[in-house]
């Protein structure tokens, strides 16, 4: 039995089996299964209340699951104390101990684990070097900026020499500029440490840029688990398609007749990458990302062409967003750079099948 478990967990850092968690009658997590490879950077992404932080807290041992098992580095840790799991955790609010200096914060966990003094010193120095904290070691958290505080919080996880890092929205309390800087710093850290990292966020940019794989969650269920670009290019269902991408994917409702999508626009489906064999009939949602819509002369070569009247133009400098309607539904077009197109202008647009997605209108799954 044990041997079976061992072989099943080879190369896997964190394994979650049939995990369930309910608060009273509310099921927060339902039969959740997830394997995370050694050294992988996995991002749990979802809107608030989707269960992503709950899952992370279960992995950390801060919440007791109602059912299922959790393995970390081959050990069943379902009922182990957080400190015995070989994890380090970084919180959104930093959660630094206010009465201790930076050094005290970094060494608190090591003192609890009765690590010898010189070893504590060595590890704290190394973490401080890695995170550029040396000049701050004797300061209290109140005398640090937000970015510095979060670096201390990361350092606190770092000194414990753990197998798995858990991040609970670590950058959400920082302003946009700092967030971008720390994001890169985190990525570098992962490259140099090669630890397993599990990262919870609601920010899809963080997810796309940091992740080896993204798990998109909704209602306690993983909707899709795949590499970032796979999720972007081939979303598994309507929810994922609408969640990833800013602005989100455009949807056109219609049906498939033979080898054609028929709705407010007609679109031949030759060349579409079907998931499980081609459909020849049925209600369908056609999805196309705003950045894949072509306008003007470029649109002439497209398989599907139509004309729209622009309602709103949003210039954002690096790109421009055009708002219009197709068949009554809102339709967004994203253009690179700046444009002279103005509100009220009628414009030929077009798009190709190779960057489109088709979904079953009933089950909302990709077809």
């Amino acid at each position: 039995m044990l041997d079976q478990t061992q072989t099943a967990l080879d190369g896997i850092s964190v394994s979650i089996r049939d995990l369930q968690l309910s608060f009273g009658a509310v099921n927060v997590l339902q039969d959740l299964n997830l394997d995370i490879a050694k050294g992988e950077f996995l991002v749990l992404l979802g809107a608030s209340g989707c269960g992503k932080s709950t899952l992370l807290n279960c992995i950390a041992g801060l919440l007791e699951p109602t059912g299922g098992q959790i393995f970390i580095e081959g050990q069943n840790v379902t009922w182990a104390e957080p400190s015995e799991r070989g994890i380090g955790m970084v919180f959104q609010s930093y959660a630094l101990y206010p009465q201790m200096t930076v050094k005290g914060n970094l060494s608190f966990g090591l003192k609890n684990a009765r690590v010898p003094k010189d070893e504590i010193e060595r590890r704290v120095t190394r973490a401080a070097e890695l995170l550029h904290l040396q000049p701050l070691l004797d300061r209290k958290p109140a005398a640090l900026s937000g970015g510095q505080r979060q670096r201390v919080a990361i350092g606190r996880a770092l000194v414990r020499d753990v197998d798995v890092f858990l991040f609970d929205e670590p950058l959400s309390n920082l302003d946009a500029k700092l967030r971008a800087e720390l994001r890169v710093e985190l990525k570098r850290l992962h490259q140099s440490l090669a630890n397993t990292m599990i990262y919870v966020t609601h920010d899809q940019i963080e997810a796309m840029t940091l992740a080896d794989r993204i798990a998109i969650m909704r209602g306690g269920v993983i909707q899709q688990l795949a590499q970032p670009l796979e999720i972007y290019n081939r979303p598994a269902n309507l929810y994922v398609a609408g969640f990833i991408g800013a602005p989100p994917m455009n949807f056109i409702r219609g049906r498939i007749e033979g080898s054609e999508f028929v709705g407010p626009v007609r679109m031949p489906l030759t060349g579409y990458g079907w998931s499980e064999g081609p459909w020849t009939s049925g209600d369908t949602v056609f999805g196309i990302r705003p950045e894949h819509v072509k306008i003007g002369d470029d649109a002439r070569h497209c398989a599907c062409q139509t004309e729209v009247t622009i309602e709103v133009v949003e210039p954002m400098g690096a790109d421009t967003l055009l708002w219009t309607r197709i068949g009554g539904d809102e339709f967004r077009i994203r253009l690179d750079g700046q444009t002279t197109i103005h509100e009220g202008q009628t414009l030929p647009i077009g798009f190709d099948i190779d960057c489109a997605s088709l979904f079953d209108a009933q089950s909302e799954q990709r077809i």
Binding site: A60, L62, G88, N112
Partner: protein, 306 residues
């Protein structure tokens, strides 16, 4: 090098308001507010004034009856008598005996009740167990039962424990009666601390006591101060439990004061009575004055989250 002053001239200031906001003279509103405040202050200060003045007069001057007048001849004799010589029953060593009794009762009661209540509050917030909310509800219910109902049952309990008439019996009673309100106070304060701090400490391997003593207590000085003030003043001012659960030689200061002031034999020594009352009130008063800022901070912190 280009001379910038020639290419750019700052615009002249425009007409209108500028600089620091001018101070307004006393308006009708202000006069009303200050007037009312003065009246109310007077209302509270006058009795104190009468007490202090009377306590500094000799008996002949007191008998004249001009209670608001300052003493013609200042004497501290009434203070000395109240502290060291006034008689209650057979003892003629004044309030001093009661003072030390009160200290012996208050210090352990305050320390014990704060230790118990702070751990209670911590466990109720951070280590919720099945039925912890019910447990807390029952504890709170205790705060609403009138003391008088429990006097007799407690007499029996103390008798059975062999603590009746003992100072430690009274300490036990004070500790238990302080628990509901103090637990509520600590629970609310600990609930207002970020939960992630507690989680971080758990990940860092700190246990129940480690988190309590090394993470939470060091950041909870204000609420410990508030609890201390509440308990010191409450227990110091207690009369009822003191008179019921202790023996005459262990009476706290309040009981002693009552016995001095309410003695029916001989001349009423108003000056001594006033001095004795002032001495008894000095302890709670000095506690408030010494911890003023922390007291307000703690009350505000405890009141925000419920």
């Amino acid at each position: 090098m280009v001379d910038l002053s020639q290419t750019y001239t700052a615009p002249r200031r425009l007409a209108g308001a500028e600089g620091a906001k001018p101070k307004r003279r006393l308006s009708g509103n202000r006069i009303m507010i200050y007037g009312i405040l003065c009246l109310i202050s007077l209302y509270y200060i006058l009795p104190l004034w009468v007490m202090v003045m009377t306590s500094l007069k000799g008996m002949p001057e007191v008998r004249v009856g001009n209670i608001f007048a300052p003493p013609v001849e200042v004497t501290f004799q009434p203070w000395i008598k109240a502290w060291a010589e006034a008689c209650t029953g057979l003892n003629c060593d004044g309030l001093s005996r009661g003072f030390w009794n009160s200290v012996k009762i208050t210090v352990p009661s305050v320390i014990l009740s704060i230790i118990v209540a702070s751990v209670n509050g911590y466990a109720l917030v951070n280590w919720k167990f099945k039925g912890s909310e019910i447990f807390f509800g029952i504890l709170l219910f205790g705060a609403f039962i009138p003391y008088q109902v429990m006097i007799y049952p407690i007499v029996i309990i103390l008798r059975e424990l062999g603590l009746m008439g003992d100072v430690w019996g009274l300490v036990l009673v004070h500790t238990i009666f302080g628990m509901p309100i103090l637990t509520l106070l600590f629970r609310n304060y600990f609930a207002s601390l970020p939960e992630e701090l507690f989680k971080a400490a758990r990940v860092d391997g700190a246990g129940f006591w480690g988190i309590f003593f090394r993470v939470l207590v060091p950041m909870s000085l204000p609420i410990f101060t508030v609890a201390m003030i509440l308990q010191v003043t409450g227990i110091w001012n207690d009369f009822l439990f003191g008179v019921i659960y202790t023996k005459p030689e262990a009476y706290p200061m309040t009981v002693q004061l009552n016995n001095i002031v309410n003695s029916v034999q001989g001349v009423k020594e108003y000056n001594v009575n006033m001095a004795a009352t002032l001495i008894t009130g000095l302890v709670p008063l000095s506690i408030y004055l010494l911890s003023g800022k922390l007291f307000v901070r703690g009350i505000a912190a405890g009141a925000v989250k419920g």
